[in-house]
């Protein structure tokens, strides 16, 4: 009993500390939605233009099963595209970083294609591959691939001069040097790429669905807007945001677990 109550005390403590730290943010957040709610009445904004948050919540609740199903679809596209991007971009970045031939062939090509807005390919992919899951996954993949590969190249090419010399002076072989020094030293910069890609992933999925789809949150937002149901479009946007938050939160958590020693993580944790 004593432990249970002290545990409860601890979590209460933690909650009150969290509130102590974040009350300004919470207040701003709540204030923002209250302002939104009242401004509809105050400025007499027609409901087919903008809906108050309360209406978004109630209407979204009524259409919850469809929203959940579409969140699943868009989430799957996002996750698959993102995962494939990591699995292919990391080895490619590594290969380019260590091969002078690839650095003179594929690398400049990648830098050029980075300038191409990947989203512009979406109509083509849809005409080639139809309305299914695959073209969306490819668009998400394309949007995520470049930041990951470019940051990975940077990461594996920027070992400090001191550590490079230290590695040579030990006489250690390529593999040992890679696993003991190069790889851990490269991880922080790799995570910069993972995070940036994570922010782009849902954008890719939503736009791919705008262009050609019969399901998913992008499709939902487009259809409901066309039907003058902005409250449902907003619901779709909130669910899309939730996917982005979960993805980004997972990446941040992975970063904390994998490189707790890095300055960016230590700073974030105060």
């Amino acid at each position: 009993m004593a432990t249970a109550s002290s545990e409860r005390g601890n979590s209460l403590d933690r909650l009150s500390r969290w509130i102590g730290r974040s009350w300004m943010f919470i207040a701003f957040f709540v204030g923002f939605f209250l302002f939104w709610e009242w401004s509809i009445v105050l400025f007499k904004i027609p409901l087919y233009i903008l809906s108050p948050p309360s209406m978004i919540v109630t209407k979204a609740w009524a259409d919850m099963s469809r929203l959940v199903q579409y969140t699943y679809i868009t989430g799957l596209e996002t996750l698959l595209g993102y995962a494939v991007a990591i699995v292919t971009a990391l080895p490619m970045g590594l290969a380019i970083a260590f091969s002078s031939v690839l650095r003179r062939t594929i690398y400049p090509f990648l830098v050029c294609t980075e300038m191409v807005p990947k989203i512009a390919f979406a109509p083509l992919f849809i005409s080639w591959l139809g309305f299914g899951l695959l073209p969306k996954v490819i668009i998400v993949f394309l949007v995520c691939f470049f930041p990951i590969v470019l940051n990975a190249i940077l990461a594996f090419n920027s070992l400090s001069e001191e550590l490079t010399r230290f590695s040579y002076s030990t006489g250690a072989g390529t593999w040992r040097t890679f696993f003991k020094i190069r790889l851990p030293a490269a991880l922080p910069q790799c995570f910069v790429g993972f995070k940036y890609a994570g922010l782009n992933a849902t954008v890719g999925a939503a736009i791919a669905e705008f262009i050609g789809s019969d399901q998913g949150l992008g499709f939902y937002i487009q259809i409901t807007t066309g039907n003058m149901r902005p409250e449902l479009a907003f619901a779709g946007i909130f669910f899309l945001t939730a996917i982005g938050l979960v993805l980004f939160g997972t990446i941040t958590l992975a970063e904390r677990l994998i490189i707790p020693w890095h300055i960016s993580v230590r700073r974030a944790q105060g």
Binding site: S169, R176, I263
Partner: protein
């Protein structure tokens, strides 16, 4: 030989040298960076023989090429002309029977102090378990035994460099190359850590090449000081510092110490660098 001290044979310029005792030998070593009109003659030609167990300082103004010289001894940079021999063998690639250290430490942020020292062993394939005692003793000798499980970012700059000394020496290298290892520390910490460095050197007596621009530091730590001219760097004078170790405050206040410092100041004054 009294006080259990070893007498240190002085290094000599190559003229008339018999070639038996030297560990590191530089002949006509020159370094030029770049080509054609844009070429920078960094230094040389330099001839010097460093015998085993010496603590030799390359002392010179910044930009005189003393760090470049150290990198070439480590085999991390090839000379433009001349040859370097270590232990009788021509240096053609990175040397491995060495410990190196720079102004910015070679400690990795993802390992603790102990982990960083063990990194040196792991990279060389030396079983860590076999030398655990040695790691502990080394940490103790630089007063870091209570910080073995801390990460580098939890330590002060001076502690980090002391940990880096341990990392550079744990595998008992024959040669230790130190490139301004105290360069970023404040004056008081520097003073303190010099003593640590000196006692580490006295324990196992590796051959140390120490790059610095502090005259006092060079005289305090070294058996020999190679005074290097401004670019293109050449060895102006090789001074044998014949003072007892450890060089504590008493030694540093002695007239012989002060005279050495003064002599070197005169040389640099002649070149207009101080």
């Amino acid at each position: 030989m009294k006080d259990g001290r070893r007498t240190v044979p002085p290094s000599i310029f190559l003229e008339g040298w018999d070639g038996l005792t030297s560990l590191i030998e530089l002949r006509g070593v020159t370094k030029v960076f770049g080509k054609g009109g844009a070429a920078v003659h960094a230094f040389g030609p330099v001839d010097i023989a460093i015998s085993e167990g010496q603590f030799i300082s390359f002392l010179g103004p910044s930009g005189c090429g003393k760090s470049t010289l150290m990198l070439m001894i480590a085999g991390l940079l090839a000379p433009s002309a001349g040859s370097i021999r270590v232990n009788g063998t021509e240096v053609k690639g990175p040397q491995t029977d060495i410990g190196i250290m720079f102004q910015d430490s070679t400690l990795v942020p993802w390992r603790t102090v102990r982990g960083n020292i063990e990194l040196q062993l792991e990279m060389r394939g030396i079983p860590v378990a076999a030398v655990r005692q040695r790691v502990a003793a080394l940490l103790k000798s630089v007063r870091l035994e209570d910080f073995a499980d801390r990460f580098p970012f939890e330590l002060s700059g001076g502690m980090q460099q002391r940990a880096a000394f341990c990392q550079a020496m744990i595998h008992q290298p024959k040669i230790v190359l130190l490139d301004e290892p105290l360069g970023k520390l404040d004056a008081m910490t520097r003073e303190h850590i010099r003593a640590d460095l000196q006692s580490l050197w006295m324990q196992s007596r590796p051959t140390v090449v120490f790059v610095t621009h502090s005259i006092e530091e060079a005289v305090q730590l070294s058996t020999e000081v190679a005074v290097i001219t401004p670019r293109p760097g050449k060895i102006d004078t090789l001074i044998s510092v014949d003072l007892p170790f450890p060089r504590d405050l008493t030694v540093k206040n002695s007239s012989a110490f002060i005279r050495h410092v003064h002599d070197i100041q005169e040389i640099f004054h002649g070149y207009g660098v101080i």
